[in-house]
């Protein structure tokens, strides 16, 4: 096998290590749509990064932080629900992202929109692989640190607050973490399919698990299986890699649903 296949495979496996536990927390906190909003905004993050010549991972993560803070601010208005606010943020940033990219392209800049939308894992450079490894290594301790308070908040927010958990701070750190993971995982599946990588393996793991930790571990295993299966089928039938990984994850999910509840 060629080097680029190994690089893609290792990148996918490393990202799955992170998206497993993170996906569980997203499911328990019902934040899938927030993840989607971050993903939609990522395109604008990329566009702005190109404009200001900063690293796209940095640009996407920073914009994700802006989105998270905007959401907390918008949630003070109680006449509209959270999902409405998220929809507004998601599509505003996606629309804005496409407009900015079109402007950049009209000025003669070459931007491969498809690579950002659907991922281009096979084109990963050695440096990009190192960046993914470093990010995953740095973020796993953060997930571990957030694990206990996030579960407490998912069980009952007021209870967590009475017991001394700084709920707002933890929530903000978690949203920031999600923004960074979206930025890192963008290369694997593209912005449109990142949420799939977060929630599908975790959702598939639910049926097989009896504790939160078990669910996270199974989600990691299923995510890794999806990466391997997806890459294999992509090479076999010459299909796009990111979407193939998502299809593989979805297959695993539907198989998990066929199993009888224990």
């Amino acid at each position: 096998m060629d080097d680029f296949i190994y690089r893609a495979l290792f990148a996918g496996l490393a990202v799955a290590l992170l998206t497993g536990p993170l996906g569980c927390l997203i499911i328990w906190r019902r934040m899938a749509y927030f993840g989607d909003t971050l993903a939609h905004s990522a395109l604008l993050g990329v566009a702005l990064s190109i404009m200001w010549s900063i690293h796209p991972v940095l640009g996407v993560a920073l914009l994700g932080l802006v989105i998270a803070i905007s959401l907390v601010w918008l949630q003070r208005y109680r006449d509209l629900a959270s999902d409405t606010m998220l929809g507004i943020l998601a599509h505003t940033s996606l629309g804005l992202g496409l407009v900015v990219i079109a402007i950049l392209q009209s000025r003669g800049m070459r931007i491969d929109l498809n690579a950002y939308l659907f991922g281009d894992i096979l084109a990963l450079s050695q440096n990009e692989l190192w960046l993914i490894f470093a990010s995953v290594l740095a973020l796993i301790p953060v997930v571990a640190w957030l694990w206990r308070p996030m579960i407490a908040i998912a069980v009952h927010e007021d209870l967590a607050r009475v017991e001394g958990i700084p709920v707002l701070k933890i929530r903000l750190i978690f949203m920031l973490l999600m923004a960074i993971v979206v930025a890192v995982a963008m290369k694997v599946t593209g912005v449109l399919l990142i949420t799939a990588l977060l929630i599908i393996p975790a959702a598939a793991a639910r049926k097989f698990s009896r504790s939160p930790e078990q669910m996270a571990a199974i989600a990691v295993l299923l995510g890794m299986s999806a990466v391997v299966l997806g890459m294999y089928s992509s090479l076999q039938w010459d299909t796009p890699t990111g979407p193939s990984i998502v299809v593989a994850a979805a297959l695993l999910f539907f198989v998990s649903r066929v199993r009888k509840k224990n």
Partner: protein
């Protein structure tokens, strides 16, 4: 020799221009069970949440024992089906809870056969006992329970209140309870606080049950009436303000503006 755990003086709370609590004084001592009773919308949950620091009183001074350890049992605990959580894993969320101690406490609340069961499969009474087990593991100075017997049948309620009283006896903590089921709660209470936005009366349960304000607030409800009519030394107008006799509306609980859900709507939804 009574040790005061928590107290609030002249607490007032306004929600979107409406007065929910007015000049409420409350104090809980160690070894004491204090019960707040009052009709729907009397501000019971708001008072408790204000004391816990979950909402902020507009006025009022809270004084707490230094390093007060508080355990809280919220009105509703709905654990989402999406999280796989067994009874014992739920209790392990209490920092420093050891497995041996968990088994022991589960025996105490008679849930030992359900140690591996999913919390989502518990009945209403079992869930409340699980929450009490959690309280015991926390070894608190003060326990705050918001309607602990909600959704539990009468026999179960009696057991639950006995369990609460035994927690006070064994662990020598102070207990603050919110309730609207009077008869059962009376036995397990040292002091009753009758709240209807302001404190109508307070004292020992036996004395309270003879108190005219208490009788006017709950006397008719006991006969199966759903709507209370107030006969106070004062009345409330349609905004719930205290006005002299004869100038207010006789039953402000009926007006939609006074039935309140302010405290629950003040909780933040997440994103």
């Amino acid at each position: 020799m009574t040790e005061q755990l928590i107290a609030v003086e002249k607490a007032s709370l306004t929600f979107s221009g409406r007065l929910v609590l007015e000049n409420v004084d409350l104090q809980v001592n160690r070894g004491e069970i204090v019960t707040i009773i009052g009709p729907n919308g009397a501000g019971k949950s708001c008072l408790v949440k204000g004391l816990l620091g979950l909402i902020r009183f507009n006025q009022g001074k809270i004084s707490k024992l230094k390093n007060l350890k508080t355990a809280y049992v919220p009105q509703k605990l709905h654990i989402d089906e999406t999280m796989p959580l067994s009874v014992s894993r739920f209790l392990k969320m209490v920092p420093a809870a050891k497995s041996a101690k968990i088994t022991e406490v589960l025996q105490e609340v008679q849930l030992h056969t359900l140690e591996q069961a999913a919390v989502q499969d518990l009945s209403g009474g079992e869930l409340q006992r699980l929450l009490l087990a959690r309280v015991i593991l926390q070894a608190p100075d003060l326990v705050v329970l918001d309607e602990p017997a909600q959704g539990v049948d009468v026999i179960g309620q009696q057991d639950l209140y006995q369990l609460i009283a035994s927690i006070r006896d064994r662990y020598h903590c102070g207990i603050l309870m919110v309730s609207h089921d009077l008869h059962l709660v009376m036995e397990a209470t040292d002091r009753v606080l009758c709240l209807n936005r302001h404190i109508c009366c307070t004292g020992h349960p036996d004395a309270i049950s003879q108190h005219p304000e208490y009788l006017s607030l709950f006397g008719e409800a006991m006969d199966g009436f759903a709507v209370y009519t107030h006969h106070h030394d004062h009345e409330h107008d349609s905004h719930g303000n205290v006005v002299p006799l004869g100038s207010g509306c006789q039953h402000w609980n009926e007006t939609s503006g006074c039935g309140q859900t302010a405290c629950s709507s003040a909780e933040k939804k997440d994103g």
